[in-house]
């Protein structure tokens, strides 16, 4: 059993207790300690900026040309916080409760409580940085609703909340760069982790422009490198989002937790052809005013506008009257899939459902809808060439977020001492399903308010011997990276990396996507084995060792192949349905996910062994919230 190092005391005292017990580092001593941050999304940028402000020497790595381009920037809808500005019954405890329930009771109570607790400070911090949140005429902040909750607690900046929050964190990061507490290494990618005497002591980075590999040593390493949704090839993730930093850390000893917990987001623009490079999300906030429906009859051929009211099935409102269109994502996605399976899907492929704004436009007027969602409607029209003010949007579920990630304890430290993991890259707060507008909250909570305490606690309480770049472990790790990259360059097969990646995506989507079963998962693992061989023998990476996107992709897809296999193994091992993990063998008569709390109320953390991965379990104990079947009816 893994020790999650949860502090003692009642739930609302745990974080206070931990902060007080924590070791500290004297302000004058902080500059003697180097901390590496990999990734500059919300979690990475906020952690780096805060550590810089506190006086540590921070080295920040991003494969992007600029920290501002990290994928957090694409988050649209908003960020939750338990401010209760709407006086509608919100509280820290309710946000905690909603998140635990939304995650289908597969997250750690203490972490989630802390997240809800610091959520209020995040909004204060962002406002002080100049983030232009939406406001009322009187000048106060306004809110909207998101799925899985019955209060209005989501703060937003038009449909660009992620962008504005990231630019806020980025501005603080750049301020520290100007003050020389932070050094930024852009277009540099972490290719391995340096572990010395069991502790994380640095990274090997590849300069994507020159191809040079360099060694960087440190006292602690923070991975804030995002999720692994791109295993599926088609996802709403940015094209370059990848799991390599986490996977290399996993291979050096960091456990990977709940890899099968992936989130399929219900409202995305449907796939249009086999050339498609990625999928585009339509924010969940649209479900505040958009009504989701399919025709009552299978095989309906009329245009949506010609289908009369009594021949439409507003299936979310029908099935879940209490939450209606705002049920959590996993539930909405599965319901949409069920409609399409029944032959009632719409569009050329039959793989989409309508999201209709007709009634809201009538009720609120074109101007109000345009003010709330203008940029999303415009984005939809650019992709599909259809005007959603006139015809309903067509949407279908797509891979969006990964709840799984590297295992961390309460302090966000992985199973390798000195290696911390923040944001989507860790597994900690969302259980088996994340609620909308909680990813931004978690990224910033980790970076601004948790990591700084964890780093002080670790550095202040650990004997760290000095280490130089020519340390034997560092040299050996560098040499291994060199060998791996050279092997990829030598490959002279016939398929491009993308072609092979698409094959992997299809295997995982078909067998480890919205619904999983034992036979399919077993088959997928065999197929991935074959695909790995195909990759080794038949990939083609032309070009040189300098700026070469094919080489970068090959390096990442090699890791996705291994991770995909672990996802299937984890899904196979978890013989229950919970949140986004839906095993067809385990469902209620109404087709809802059927948990098995007796046998699976745990985190599955996998250790890399080189052969069959070894499973470690962390028991999930619910002392405050009563375990129950989720109901949104």
């Amino acid at each position: 059993m893994l020790d999650s190092k949860i502090p003692s005391g009642p739930i609302d005292q745990k974080w206070k207790n931990r902060k007080f017990e924590s070791n500290l580092v004297n302000p004058a001593n902080r500059r003697k300690h180097t901390v590496i941050v990999v990734g500059t999304g919300l979690a990475g940028a906020s952690a780096a900026a805060t550590l810089g402000e506190q006086g540590y020497r921070v080295k920040v790595f991003t494969f992007h040309e600029s920290p501002r381009r990290a994928h957090s920037i694409a988050a649209q809808g908003g960020i939750n916080a338990a401010k209760n500005y709407q006086n509608d019954g919100d509280s820290v405890y309710r946000l905690f409760y909603d998140t635990i329930k939304g995650g289908d009771f597969r997250s750690r109570e203490a972490n989630v409580y802390r997240l809800a607790e610091v959520s209020v400070n995040i909004i204060d911090q962002c406002v002080a940085q100049g983030v232009p949140f939406a406001r009322e005429y009187g000048g106060t902040l306004t809110n909207r609703s998101f799925g899985g909750t019955q209060v209005s607690r989501t703060f937003y900046a038009k449909g660009q909340t992620g962008q504005q929050l990231l630019l806020g964190a980025y501005s603080s990061l750049m301020r520290q760069a100007g003050q020389k507490t932070i050094e930024i290494f852009s277009r540099q990618e972490m290719v391995d982790l340096i572990v010395v005497e069991g502790k994380a002591r640095g990274i090997i980075a590849r300069n994507l422009v020159t191809g040079e590999l360099t060694t960087h040593t440190a006292d602690a390493v923070i991975l804030a490198t995002g999720g692994y949704g791109n295993v599926f090839f088609l996802s709403t993730n940015a094209k370059q989002s990848n799991a390599s930093a986490c996977w290399r850390a996993h291979k050096r000893g960091a456990y990977f937790a709940n890899p099968c917990f992936t989130q399929i987001h219900p409202t995305c623009v449907p796939v249009s052809g086999d050339y498609q490079s990625k999928l585009t999300l339509m924010s969940e906030s649209l479900r505040n005013d958009g009504r989701v429906w399919v025709p009552l009859k299978a095989g309906e051929k009329r245009a949506p506008g010609d289908i009369p009211e009594n021949e439409r099935d507003y299936f979310l409102e029908r099935m879940y009257p209490a939450f209606g269109n705002l049920v959590p994502r996993d539930i909405a996605s599965r319901a949409a899939k069920r409609m399409c399976d029944e032959g009632r899907g719409v569009g050329p492929t039959g793989l989409s459902v309508y999201m209709d704004f007709r009634d809201s436009i009538q009720r609120l007027g074109h101007a109000t809808i345009s003010e709330k969602y203008g940029n999303l409607f415009q984005m939809y029209e650019k992709i599909t060439d259809e005007n959603p003010y006139q015809v309903p949007m067509r949407i279908f579920p797509a891979v969006h977020y990964t709840m799984g990630g590297l295992w961390v304890d309460y302090n966000l430290m992985s199973s390798i001492p000195g290696l911390f993991v923040a944001g989507e890259a860790n597994f900690s707060d969302h259980g088996a399903n994340r609620l909308g507008a909680s990813a931004l909250m978690q990224g910033l909570a980790d970076g601004y308010f948790v990591i700084p305490y964890s780093i002080a606690n670790y550095i202040g309480g650990t004997k760290l011997s000095p280490i130089k770049n020519d340390h034997e472990s560092a040299k050996a790790t560098l040499a291994e990276s060199q060998t791996r990259l050279e092997a990829l360059m030598k490959a002279k097969g016939s398929q491009s990396v993308d072609q092979l990646h698409r094959k992997l995506g299809k295997i995982i989507w078909d067998n480890c996507g919205m619904a999983r079963n034992e036979a399919g998962l077993n088959e997928a693992m065999v197929s991935i084995q074959k695909l790995k061989e195909e990759f080794a023998n038949d990939v083609r990476v032309p070009g040189d060792n300098q700026l070469n996107s094919e080489l970068e992709k090959a390096n990442r897809v090699a890791d996705f192949l291994e991770l995909g296999e672990l996802m299937c193994l984890d899904a196979l091992e978890r013989k229950e349905s919970c949140g986004g993990h839906f095993r067809e063998e385990m469902q209620t008569p109404e087709g809802e996910a059927l948990r098995d709390d007796k046998n699976f109320s745990h985190v599955a953390a996998w250790e890399f062994t080189g052969k069959t991965p070894k499973l470690h379990k962390e028991a999930l104990v619910f002392e405050n919230i009563h375990l129950a079947q989720r109901s949104y009816k």
Binding site: A70, I73, Q129, G130, Q160, Q240, Y275, D498, L547, N548
Partner: protein, 247 residues
Amino acid sequence: MKLHLKIWRQKGPQEAGSFKDYSVDNASEHMSFLEMLDFLNTSLVQKGEEAVQFDHDCREGICGSCSLVINGNPHGPETGTATCQLHMRKFKDGDTIVIEPFRAKAFPVIRDLSVNRTAFDRIMEAGGFCSVNTGNAPEANAILIGKETAEKAMDSAACIGCGACVAACKNASAMLFVSAKVSQLALLPQGNPERGRRVRNMVAQMDQEMFGACSNTGSCEAACPKEIKLENIARLNREMVRAAWVE
């Protein structure tokens, strides 16, 4: 659809580049422009030729990575659209399309269509922030900001830092980029205490990076995928004057 492409190929910053001709036979009008380039690259890779390097990431028009000058226009022919959101249905079967990198002294070419825009980061480093350490913020609703002001600030803050404004300007001026950030923070009370310092430092850094002077022609606004308005530049100029007199 069938397309003829003239694409700028350049090995590195110090080497001379040139246009190379390519043809794509089976493009679909539903492809995005970048998917069309992916399609070309797959065929090049299969032949063992080097893929065309270009910057891209989110492909939703928000990260600001994509660039490209398409038929003489930064981000192509559509207004208010980043290259990644441009679709082939905006072109005709048989079209010849010329694809070049953003060209500016401050944006050196790295390879092919990929350019180095880190000059923008250094301008941000010089002053594009409110100096507030984590933990040092007052209660959010203690700072009242009217709806119109918040929305104006948001309009300026919508800049994605892609650099199309620079690529469009005959002087390769970065005024639209710099003014959008200066405006956002000048409009908001949080930005007030360092208003003068900010504008002076950011403009000084902009000059040091070798961006040119404003041409006053407004081509930046026309090319901007986020439709950032020229009035930001007017506000920047006012902020400079204000800084000289008031602070």
